[in-house]
Each structure stands twice: as structure tokens, then as C-alpha cells.
Amino acid sequence: MKLWLVLMLVWQCHTTALANEAAPLAEDPVVEQRLLTIAEELRCLVCQNESLAGSRADLALDLRRELRTLIKAGKTDAEIKTFLVDRYGEFVLYRPPVKPTTWLLWFGPVLLLLGAVWMLLRWIRRNQHTTAPQKLTDEQRTKAQALLQNTDTPP
């Protein structure tokens, strides 16, 4: 059993060593899948509107290579993200962490929405007041009655 494990490990080391020299496409699909999931959430620093997964910039290639090594070393997603944040800052994260300096970013839109709803309610209420039924003067009343009587009776 132990011998098998050792053999398996040796075999795996051997294949990964070979894979390092092969083209990236030929690499372990599991690693590639994880790399893609993580890199989709990260910003490429050279072309800032592209994700690290999609960018063809030289730096993105290098960083994907770094991430592959980290994935193979058994690092968790959080550890890999920390690796990049420690070097490039939180700017690399497309989903910034919730903390006092990013509160405005996270909750600002909700505040704006609440403010808009409040203003809308105020506006509606004010308009209701102005359109409240007004009392008719006696003169207006007789005029209205005259108009009503003049209309043809429906068949």
C-alpha cells in the first residue's frame, strides 16, 4: 500500500515535471479549471478592463503561471488571492472586500435608491394635497347643475 502511494507520487512528480515543459494547453485540466475560476475574479493590471483569465498581456501570462504553481502546491483560493493582493493591492480583486473604506462602494447604490424612493414618496404626497377635492362655490354649483340638466338623457 505504502509502496503504491510512493510510486503514485513519483509518477505524479514525474508527469508534472514534464507538464511544466509542455505547452500550457497540455496541462492538468483540473488545475486549468480552477485557475480559470480564480482568474475570472481577478483584474489584469496591464489591461484593466480584462480579467486575468482573459488577458493576453505578458504579465497575465506570467501571473497565470504563478497561479498554476500555487494551485499545484495545494493553496486555497483565499491564499492565492492574498498572494496577489499582497503584491498588487486590492485593485486586483473585481469583488472588493467589505470594510470601512469600501462601505460607500458597497452600500452607496442602496442609499441612493432609498433616497430616490423617499423623494418619490414625498413628491406623491405633496401632489395628493394639491389635487384634493375643492369645494364648489354656489355659483359654480348652479352652473354645473344647469349643464347636467341640459344633457340628453341616454336611451
Binding site: 493590471l45 496591464v46 484593466q48 505578458d58 504579465l59 506570467d62 501571473l63 504563478e66 493582493v85 499582497d86 503584491r87 498588487y88 493591492g89 486590492e90 485593485f91
Partner: protein, 174 residues
């Protein structure tokens, strides 16, 4: 009267924010490494016949790490400024030839002058990644304790050297 002023005020605030936004360069991403210990590295010396540079050996000195490459256009602009600054022998300067070929780097230095006390190579860009380099040239001012005190993103200009770098060095050097 008052009510018509409210949208105008909101517009004014928006205008101020947009104006501030225009003065900022989105390419300049503040480094999280400022105030933190510089990554420790060992690297082969360019044209050093197997000699190795250890960043630890620089402890106790204020020094400048300047990343450059022979393929980097902005470095061409920065280089004469660095050559001029190096003449003053203010601080040791270490060049990091980032993702470059040795022959090209050596040729570049012999053609445009060598401001560096030592130049090391970073062929696969690993050291660059540890320093959070995303576009050469970038430079790091490192103090006696090995802490990064300043990062210059993009080429140094004469003004930046005179108004920022030199005062900072004076502050750090006893």
C-alpha cells in the same frame, strides 16, 4: 428659487468629483508594499560570470531598485535622467533587467550608459511579481531596514528626482 438650486448643487458636486477624477492616472495603482519589508531575493548579476546578488547584502543602506528592460520604450526616456542622477553618487542603484535577454541588456547599457552599481537579471519575471511590478520602468526606494519607502511608477523625471526622491533620501539618511 431654492428648489431650482438643488439640481444645480448636485450637478456642481458631480462636476467636482469628475474634475478630481480627471487629474488621476488610472494606470497608477498604489502599491500595498510601501511601508512593508521589500521582498528578499537572490539573482544572477548581468554579465557577472555567475556572480550572484543578494538583496540582504544591501541592509544598512538606502538604495534604489530600478526595473528596466532593453525592450522598454519608457526606459529609454528615463535612462539619461538616471545616468545623470547616478553621477551624484547619492545612493547605490541596483538595476533589475526585467524579462530581458542578457545580450540585449548588456548592449543597451554599453550604448546608453550604466547608472547602476550592479544590474541583476529577472528572466522569468518572478522577482518583478514579488515586487508587484506591472509595467517597467518601476523603481523602489528601500531604506536601511529593508523597508520600501517609495515607489515610482513609470519613468523618473528630473522633477520627481529633485522634488520627491532626493528630499526623501535626505530624510532617510542620517
Amino acid at each position: 428659487m431654492k428648489k431650482t438650486l438643488i439640481p444645480l448643487a448636485i450637478f456642481g458636486v458631480l462636476l467636482v468629483f469628475l474634475a478630481i477624477g480627471l487629474t488621476r492616472d488610472p494606470k497608477e495603482i498604489p502599491s500595498p508594499l510601501i511601508g512593508k519589508p521589500a521582498p528578499v531575493f537572490t539573482a544572477p548579476v548581468l554579465n557577472g560570470q555567475g556572480a550572484v546578488f543578494r538583496s540582504k547584502d544591501m541592509l544598512g543602506k538606502v538604495w534604489l531598485l530600478n526595473t528596466w528592460a532593453s525592450w522598454c520604450v519608457a526606459c529609454r526616456y528615463e535612462h539619461p535622467i538616471l545616468v545623470e542622477f547616478a553621477k551624484s553618487k547619492t545612493i547605490p542603484m541596483v538595476g533589475l533587467d526585467y524579462k530581458d535577454q542578457d545580450a540585449a541588456g548588456i548592449q543597451w547599457l554599453s550604448r546608453y550608459g550604466n547608472p547602476y552599481d550592479v544590474t541583476v537579471t529577472d528572466k522569468d519575471g518572478r522577482i518583478g511579481i514579488d515586487f508587484g511590478v506591472y509595467g517597467v520602468p518601476e523603481s523602489f526606494l528601500i531604506d536601511q531596514a529593508g523597508v520600501i519607502r517609495y515607489k515610482q511608477i513609470g519613468p523618473f523625471t528630473e522633477e520627481v528626482i529633485k522634488d520627491t526622491l532626493i528630499p526623501l533620501i535626505r530624510e532617510l539618511q542620517p
